[in-house]
């Protein structure tokens, strides 16, 4: 018998344009419906222009105090870009979980030779972090039904929901309310793909 969930601290990360805010809005509605207290702090710099975006997402059965999660208190890092994943690894609890896309948007400093990139593969560094890591490569999951470059956020939402054992109808109802009508179908396919990948990963484990 699992003990009841008293709350979690989640960092949702990526770069501008990856739908981090949509992801966090859907989760927010989901946990609200379950009666949790929430604080969600979005650090959006020049996000639209290739900057990093991080959302500190906290739900709890007690009032949430700090809008920012202290390093060491993070239960989940959910990241849509793997350079950004690296920035938050040290914030995870010992039993923290990483759910990351292996997509990478090279920073302009590396592109123009102002900074050296890490010499090792970022995916490998993440996998060696000693945390429970799930890395999804979007190029392996291209689908004719939706554009995964735009909907990786919802793929990862499906993965997360399956991993947490949530009722999918509750989540997909919120998706339907949160995205423009013409994108509902694609988003539901993306969500479903996420749950399938999650299943595969969990079995493989």
């Amino acid at each position: 018998m699992k003990s009841p969930d008293t709350g979690k601290n989640i960092i949702i990360a990526g770069v501008g344009g990856q739908g981090i805010l949509l992801f966090s809005n859907i989760l927010s509605q989901f946990y609200m419906n379950l009666g949790y207290e929430l604080k969600i702090s979005d650090v959006v710099g020049l996000g639209q222009r290739g900057g990093g975006v991080e959302s500190h997402f906290r739900y709890s059965n007690k009032p949430v105090l700090s809008p920012f999660i202290k390093a060491g208190d993070v239960d989940y890092v959910i990241s849509f870009e793997q350079t950004e994943t690296l920035r938050f690894l040290h914030c995870l609890k010992a039993d923290g979980v990483v759910l990351t896309s292996t997509y990478e948007l090279t920073s302009s400093t590396v592109n123009t030779g102002l900074q050296k990139d890490l010499s090792e593969s970022k995916t490998e560094i993440i996998k060696r972090s000693g945390k429970k890591v799930f890395a999804i490569d979007p190029t392996e999951h291209k689908s004719p039904d939706f554009d995964i470059s735009k909907m990786m956020n919802v793929v990862m939402l499906g993965f997360y929901a399956q991993f947490r054992g949530y009722a999918h109808d509750d989540m997909t109802d919120i998706i339907k309310e949160s995205v423009p009508k013409r994108f509902i179908e694609g988003n539901l396919k993306a969500y479903e793909l996420g749950t399938t990948i999650s299943d595969g990963n969990l079995v493989a484990e």
């Binding site: 702090s41 020049l46 639209q48 690894l89 592109n111």
Partner: protein
């Protein structure tokens, strides 16, 4: 109960306060306050004014008419509006007058090291600071009450954290809107006018003279006294070892990291509740002040003769701490675990959207080695080292006058142009252009007209074809305005037609007279312009010279490939604008 971020909560507060007029200028992170007010509360008149000073003046006028009004801006904008605020400070207030001003603490959105509380000190006006969205809504209402009760403009200070943090807010579901009206004073004059009369005629009872009397010093002193009993300032006496005076979101960091500490949470941060501060000081062994931004609370508290530990433990300038729970834990919790971030993760410079007009302008200037000044519009990105297109960059609207000054000083011996967005042009740049003409300036101005204020998400400017109060007949025309000002050469070009853009800029610069090149294309991101087929790089032809990467486009990346690196175009981001192919000497970039 609703989940709201600070911006939504402020808008809701304005509605529940019965505000009638809202005027502002966009600025991250608080732009959304106006957008939410306009979308959700149509009873409130909203406008994006031409700049922050104008916005404050509009709000002053509405307030004098007897209606509650607010002006919205980020702190950088309050620098522009400071003169207007100074005029209102200490003057007679009819309808409550509130300035919603947001500090970019931690420079999250890229703002400068500004702190709006300096204006509270300088003009002797109250400043309120919320710690979460519930506070933001409640304090907005309180700000109007204070403004009317103590006859003063009030600053409601938000930050890049409060603006963008969502938390639950209790709202009055049954509230029905009513524009609040209060007309107490027949006149409202700045302190210059008032004091001239008040000092010389202090014993007069003549109504023509007494109407000038407004005891602004007593008003703010009375607020300071009342602040000791105000529930805006909460004194929580716990353990006697550590005491903390704090405001804003740092209050919650303190509560989480130091649960045993005694805390004074300031909601009204100016003027200070002296008695509550002394009560806390007497209760604890060590008293700290934890404040985002500059050391203003610290200085004000020390001015009361109370010793607090602040910047000696938490250094400020030049790093300008944004407090986090981690920062507090590191300094005040013994044996806090050390956690080391992954080393050498590359940082991200801001970079222009693929297809942006600014990239075309920057590239043309670089190619012909024409020096240029820019301002803080999207053109600012051209200042960063991956592009290196501009050598002089300052505040919003500055470039035209700066180029004029440069050209005057070096007697037009060197090509030096101004680059400005349509936003910067209307905000204050137009003054620079008028100045240039009537002082015989001979420089070239390139106005990048993308039909909106792109940097803050695409709000309307006077030449846009949309907006809260848009009417086609009232749309201002940049060309006509430049003509009316007296510019000799005006030409309009489409930046994606690279050859005509180059010709237009070169003709203008070589003519050595005053000229304007209007580079016109709607913002690719705001207006979701249709894309052409993405370009790709023929790897057999590419010599990795990186010229294309220095264009500064988001879609071009250098990636680790099999064995070696490759420069590739991200087809999901590329808009097919072909700018990169014009710089490739190998002709490796193809449609």
């Amino acid at each position: 109960m609703k989940m709201m971020n600070g911006n939504e909560a402020v808008a809701r507060g304005a509605f529940e306060a019965g505000v009638k007029v809202a005027a502002g200028y966009p600025g991250t992170p608080s732009t959304e306050v106006m957008e939410y007010t306009h979308q959700r509360y149509p009873d409130i008149y909203c406008e994006w004014s031409t700049n922050e000073k104008v916005a404050v003046e509009v709000a002053i006028g509405a307030s004098f008419a007897g209606y509650r009004s607010f002006a919205l801006m980020k702190t950088v904008g309050l620098n522009v509006a400071a003169d207007a605020l100074c005029g209102a400070a200490g003057s007679q207030i009819n309808g409550g007058l509130v300035l919603v001003v947001s500090d970019d603490v931690g420079r999250i959105a890229g703002g400068d090291y500004n702190d709006c509380r300096h204006f509270g000190n300088m003009f002797n006006i109250p400043v309120l600071e919320p710690s979460d969205s519930q506070d933001a809504k409640d304090f907005m209402v309180r700000a109007f009450e204070i403004s009317e009760e103590y006859s003063t403009p009030v600053i409601l200070k938000t930050t890049s954290v409060t603006c963008k943090t969502k938390s639950r807010v209790v709202i009055d579901e049954d509230y029905t809107y009513e524009a609040r009206f209060r007309h107490t004073y027949p006149v409202s004059f700045s302190k210059v006018v008032m004091t001239t009369i008040m000092m010389k005629a202090k014993d007069s009872t003549h109504p023509k003279l007494t109407k000038y009397f407004n005891d602004f010093v007593e008003n703010i002193d009375r607020l300071a006294r009342d602040s000791n009993d105000s529930d805006l300032n909460k004194l929580e006496l716990n353990g006697s070892k550590i005491g903390v005076i704090t405001a804003g979101t740092p209050y919650y960091y303190v509560k989480e990291v130091l649960p045993e500490a005694s805390v004074l949470k300031l909601g009204l941060i100016m003027p200070l509740p002296e008695k509550k501060i002394r009560a806390l000081a007497e209760h604890v062994e060590a008293l700290y002040v934890i404040e985002d931004g500059h050391d203003i609370l610290e200085k004000n508290i020390k001015d009361l003769g109370v010793w607090v530990i602040g910047k000696e433990l938490f250094p400020k300038f030049p790093h300008m701490t944004r407090f986090t729970p981690d920062v507090i834990e590191e300094k005040l919790v013994p044996d806090a675990p050390k956690r080391t971030p992954q080393k050498d993760v590359p940082f991200r410079l801001p970079i222009s959207c693929a297809g942006c007009s600014h990239l075309f302008v920057a590239q043309t200037l670089k190619k012909h080695k024409i020096k240029a000044a820019t301002d803080v519009t999207c053109g600012i990105i051209g200042c960063f080292p991956h592009m290196e297109a501009y050598s002089l960059e300052k505040c919003m609207g500055a470039s035209i006058a700066m180029a004029h000054g440069y050209t005057i000083a070096n007697e037009n011996k060197e090509d030096f142009v101004a680059v400005i967005g349509d936003g910067g042009f209307w905000a204050t740049g137009i003054n620079g252009l008028m100045n240039l003409i009537y002082n015989n300036g001979q420089s070239t101005t390139i106005i990048v007209d993308n039909s909106c204020l792109a940097m803050t998400g695409g709000q309307n400017v006077p030449s846009s074809e949309f907006g809260f109060n848009y009417k086609p007949e009232n749309k201002l025309d940049i060309t006509k305005v430049c003509e009316a000002i007296g510019i000799k050469d005006i030409v309009t070009v489409d930046p994606h037609k690279v050859e005509s853009l180059e010709a237009a800029i070169l003709n203008a610069v070589n003519a050595k007279t005053n000229s304007v090149v209007i580079v016109q294309k709607p913002c690719v991101t705001r207006f979701k312009l249709p894309k052409d087929t993405p370009s790709y790089i023929d790897q057999d032809l590419c010599t990795q010279c990186r010229q294309c990467l220095h264009v500064g486009c988001l879609a071009i990346e250098r990636k680790a490939g099999e064995g070696s690196h490759q420069i590739v175009i991200n087809e999901d981001l590329c808009t097919g604008c072909r700018l990169c192919s014009t710089v490739c000497k190998q002709e490796a970039i193809q449609p």
